[in-house]
Symmetry: C2
Subunit: 245 residues, 2 copies
C-alpha cells in the first residue's frame, strides 16, 4: 500500500460536514472514500487533518489515504477531479511515507472567518461570509483578540460536552484585517475544539458591537463556562485555510 | 410619479436573464417589477440599462422606474433588499429627473470576463469564471485586443440576426490583467451587440491558444460574418461591472 497526501478545496454549503456518516451520503469524507474505493477496487479510508462542520469551507484541507494503485500522484489528482462534484477539488497529491498521518502529524492550522460589515447585502460573497449590519469597533476586537491568544483552557469556547480530554489549546495568533466593508479574522493555533473558532468569533463580534468589554475575555477563559462566552456564529463564514506539518 | 434610479447586483446563475418574459417567472426584471408593483399598488415597469443574458452576472446594473410612492430612496432600498432573493441586491437608490432613462441615457458600459487559466478546478470561483486548461498566450491576446478596439462594424461578433439596425459600435478599451492563474478581460464601449462580448472573448481565447493569428482580427471585422469569428464562451464568466451616464 502506498500512502498519498492530498490538499483539498471545498465549498461546504451543501454538505453535512467532513466526517463520514452512516445516515448521510452527503459528506466530504464520504464522497472521497467512495471515489477512491472505486478507483482502487478496495475499501479506502481517507483521513482528514480534522473535521469541518456542516457548511464550513476549506481552501487547504489536508488528508491522506493508503491506496493499492499503480497510478502516479498526478494521475490520481486528474482521476479525482474528473469525478468529484464541482464544489470539491483536489489541488495537490503527493506520495508520502507510510507513517504520515494527516491528523496526528498536524502541528497547526489557520482558519479564516469573513464578516461583511455593511447595511447592504453582498450578493457575490454571501455563501462565504456572515453579515453584521451594525458598525463593528475593530480596535476593540483587536484588543480582545490579544487576550484570547496564548495557551489557555478554552472550555468556555466549545460546544463539546465535558469530558476527560484536555481543552487546553494554544492560539498563536488572531489577525484582524479590514478591506473595504469586509473584515477577515485569521485564527492560527495548534488545534481548535469543536465550534471553538465560531464561538471566539461570536464573542469578538459582541465586543465589536459594544455589548461586551474587552477585559471580559480573561474572565470568560477563567470561568470555563460555555454560557459566559458569545453566540455561535454561522458556519458559512468559516474557511479552513491551511494545515501546518 | 417620481422617477428612481437604482444600482443592482445579481448572480445570474439561476435566472433566465434580465428581460421579463411571458413564459418565465424567473428573470431579474420580472422579480423587480413584481416586488415594486406590490410596494406601490400599481403596475411598475423597471427599465434596465440593457439586457443581460441568462447566466450573466451584474455588479453594477443600472435601472430606473417611475413609482407612485411616499417612500424615500433609502426606504425603497431597504424594502427591496428585505424581499429580494439573496442572489439579487439593490446597492443604491436615488431620485432622478422624470426624463432620466437608464437605457437611452447610457453613454457606455464596462463588462468583465474572467478566465481561470489552470489545469486545476477553482471551487470558489466556479460560478463566475470560465476555465481554460491550456496555457494562454497573454501577449498575443493583448495584440489582438488592440485590433478589435475602436469604431468598427461588429456584425461578425453578434448572434443577432441581420436587420437594418446598425451594428457599428465603439469599443474604447479591452484591458487584460493577469492575477495568479486568473485572467480578467475588461471591455469598455458605448454599447455592445447581442453576445458581442462573449464572441470577442471566444475569439481572443482562440488567439491565446495559438489557433488563430492576431492579424485575423482585422479580416473578421471586415468580413462581417459570424462564422469567421470565434466560439461563444459560457455566460457564467461574464459580469456587467458598471454603466456610465
Amino acid at each position: 500500500m502506498r500512502n498519498f497526501k492530498m490538499i483539498l478545496q471545498y465549498e461546504g454549503t451543501r454538505y453535512q460536514g467532513w466526517q463520514r456518516q452512516e445516515t448521510s451520503e452527503n459528506t466530504i469524507q464520504g464522497k472521497l472514500e467512495t471515489l477512491l474505493s472505486k478507483m482502487c477496487g478496495h475499501k479506502v479510508e481517507v483521513q482528514g487533518s480534522g473535521r469541518t462542520d456542516a457548511g464550513v469551507h476549506a481552501a487547504g484541507q489536508v488528508a491522506n489515504a493508503h491506496l493499492e494503485t499503480d497510478r502516479s500522484p498526478q494521475e490520481i489528482l486528474e482521476y479525482m477531479n474528473s469525478y468529484l462534484p464541482e464544489d470539491i477539488a483536489v489541488v495537490a497529491v503527493e506520495e508520502v511515507g507510510e507513517r504520515f498521518h494527516s491528523r496526528l502529524n498536524a502541528k497547526g492550522k489557520t482558519y479564516c472567518y469573513r464578516v461583511i460589515n455593511s447595511p447592504l447585502p453582498h450578493v457575490f460573497e454571501r455563501k462565504f461570509t456572515y453579515r453584521v449590519e451594525e458598525r463593528l469597533n475593530i480596535d476593540a476586537m483587536k484588543e480582545a483578540a490579544k487576550l484570547l491568544c496564548g495557551t489557555h483552557d478554552f472550555a468556555a469556547f466549545t460546544s463539546a460536552k465535558k469530558s476527560k480530554k484536555s481543552t487546553v489549546r494554544t492560539v498563536e495568533e488572531i489577525r484582524i484585517e479590514e478591506q473595504k466593508d469586509e473584515i477577515f479574522f485569521y485564527f492560527t493555533g495548534n488545534g481548535f475544539l469543536f465550534h471553538m473558532v465560531r464561538i471566539l468569533m461570536g464573542t469578538l463580534i459582541e465586543v465589536g458591537l459594544g455589548k461586551r468589554e474587552v477585559f471580559e475575555m480573561t474572565e470568560i477563559l477563567a470561568s470555563g463556562k460555555r454560557e459566559r462566552a458569545g453566540a455561535l456564529v454561522p458556519a458559512k463564514g468559516l474557511t479552513l485555510l491551511n494545515v501546518r506539518y
